[in-house]
Subunit: 403 residues, 2 copies
């Protein structure tokens, strides 16, 4: 059976509508006590409530039953892509996370400084969680390594971590990890798993040897480990799927990276607040058909178990909504990439509230937005991958099928 998206792509047509997808990261939640109110239900959200009365409500399943997604797969699904088919590997994710513009041919890996003894045996896989500032200096050292025929790029991450990027053409990314995953062993050599990756393995091993020599005088961070080599998955472009000129508004690298992966333009945001993000929306309003706007604070609070903080973050978001309404968009989605219940202090598999506004919404007239009311909404419990097709239909962007 062909995936639905292959059929859907043939049905999409350009339209004059403005579509906005607002993603509150980790929006879905749980009550503090059985039968109580979730974070979203606790928050005073007069603007979202008013919009809900004119919208279709539902719950989205990000990846599948029981699957707790990271933000990468959660976003891909909300953009209409099957996150299992288009899996983003660990190296590529790390590169997206630091806002690096990973090319489609680039091979990325997660790197970290580590400590080995005089016999080359691993004694600390994280080099004592080297402070970020010191790590940056060592990254500059690694940047001096040159290997003929390829470009090697190193980007610092946090503490002992960095991203290793190999920019070349026609070579494979199928090489094994160097991290033995426990101390007491020597770091492994990278080995090619496919013939076209033999050259890749040679380059990587050469780089590590050079790095080892350069780092030898260091008291702690005297070696490196690389793992999770991969490229970005090749995904169909957002424009080809939906005939939409799409732009992304996000202040964290990871979300900008996933939006870039599907072919959205990444808009500059002056500042880091949700107000700054809405300012970017206003500024570029006339230039795009579709805007994806990402709000991080809901997830941050959920992950540290801060129930009142998540409530306040939702209220802060709600206060901005009138600025969007003033632009008179045709279709608005308010949803999340996954749930992050404060009581769990983590992402979760629970379905995520979704609001879909358009003039053609089959709405219930009730001014309320939350997990419980969404459960009985007109959309039902749907796959997150179905949100974009529905939104596009509401925008007049889908042709009639058959006669």
């Amino acid at each position: 059976m062909k995936p639905f998206v292959d059929f859907f792509q043939k049905m999409t047509v350009p339209s004059d509508s403005k579509i906005v997808m607002l993603i509150l990261d980790g929006l879905g939640g749980l009550p503090l006590m059985p039968g109580g109110k979730t974070e979203l239900e606790t928050a005073r959200t007069p603007n979202m409530d008013a919009l809900a009365a004119r919208s279709e409500l539902g719950l989205t399943i990000p990846v599948g039953p029981g699957i707790t997604p990271g933000s990468g797969p959660g976003h891909l699904a909300m953009f209409g892509y099957d996150p299992i088919q288009y899996e983003i590997g660990r190296g590529a994710l790390e590169a997206l996370g630091v806002d690096f513009e990973l090319g489609s041919e680039d091979i990325a890996a997660r790197g970290n400084f580590c400590t080995v003894d005089q016999n080359g045996i691993l004694v600390d896989r994280r080099a004592g969680r080297l402070p970020t500032q010191e790590s940056q200096k060592l990254v500059d050292l690694l940047r001096t390594i040159k290997i003929e025929g390829v470009e090697i790029i190193i980007e610092p991450v946090k503490e002992h971590r960095f991203v290793f990027i190999l920019r070349s053409h026609g070579i494979g990314a199928d090489i094994t990890d160097m991290d033995p995953l426990r101390v007491g062993l020597a770091p492994l050599e990278a080995k090619a798993v496919s013939p076209d990756s033999l050259k890749t393995a040679r380059i990587v091993n050469q780089f590590v040897q050079d790095a080892k020599q350069l780092l030898a005088p260091q008291p702690v961070a005297n070696m490196i480990l690389l793992r999770g080599f991969d490229r970005l998955p090749k995904v169909p472009k957002f424009f080809d799927l939906y005939k939409l000129n799409a732009a992304a508004i996000a202040v964290n690298g990871m979300y900008r990276g996933v939006a870039r992966l599907v072919g959205m333009d990444i808009l500059p945001v002056d500042g880091l607040s949700i107000g700054d993000e809405f300012s970017a929306l206003e500024k570029f309003w006339s230039q795009y058909d579709y805007f994806y706007l990402h709000y991080k604070k809901t997830d941050t609070c959920g992950e540290i178990g801060d129930f009142p903080g998540k409530v306040a973050a939702i209220e802060e978001f709600d206060a901005q909504l009138p600025r969007l309404m003033a632009l008179n968009p045709d279709v608005i989605m308010i949803g999340g990439d996954h749930s992050s219940p404060a009581v769990m202090k983590s992402h979760s598999w629970h379905p995520v509230p979704l609001l879909l506004y358009s003039r053609y919404a089959r709405s219930n007239g009730i001014s309320m937005f939350g997990e419980t009311i969404c459960r009985s909404g007109s959309l039902g419990i749907i796959s997150a991958q179905h949100v974009m097709p529905l939104a596009l239909a509401h925008a007049g962007g889908v042709a009639k099928f058959g006669a």
Copy 2:
């Protein structure tokens, strides 16, 4: 597209949780009058009601829209297997039904005694529904037949029925039935449908010839018919799928057989009552991560059209629930393998009420368990195959997908 279960299997991790799946056979029902209460809604179930207030509720579709399953497919789905992909044939089902430990290479068929006239023409396909006691004597007679190179096992069932098992290696099970399905015709010869089944057909035809000679002096049961030759499907093991050490508590052979098929340990039960089954649960509590407990009486009453009997059976089950709660399990599922509405006197396709308790349940706080309240529960109407993935997520047994 690969089945979801292939992906899910890669995501499961061991956890310390205790998971219990309580299956009330044929749980789903219908009201006696339109708009009335079903069996489950009529029953006084204070313990399940209290648990429901802290649980997620929903309805499960056993196999697919409009499909009325037998208990075999109904159970496989609740265990997370696609019952269409892993079809259990009639011969194998008959062997499971008498609690026979069918090996993965064994070929099983349904057998029955019949009556032929002096020309070998079938005059009664069931030998006058021979009493079980007489049938057992004839089974002992059949057991004297020896065929070189294979082991043949005969197990009595009920009345005129028995199971025929051919224990051998490297031979096919693709042979045709011998039952012409109506009187006035001679029993058919078994024919091989695939080359590797030629030997199988020869053995079976030889056995039937020998049986005919042995049975010739019998006044009624003077011949046999064999049909539904097959092996058990090869299913992935429960432990490999879910990383759970699983045990089954059931007093009927069929349910023990299906549990054995997926690789569960079958626990001994001292007695036949639901109380005896809960005693087994208590006794083995510390030894397993997952328990499947089967309760038959609900289905038995449904199939004979005994509405008050089914209500009473549900109440009898409910009275045992505190014994489970005292063990403090992490995840509890209460559901059914299919519906058996008393008004239909049969299994049916109707979705089945499901309760899923865990500390992370998105619950509604309402003390009620029944078809109507489940319809508006947080789980929605889901495939029975999604129940195990959800339960495992609630138990902390599924890794995060992506970052």
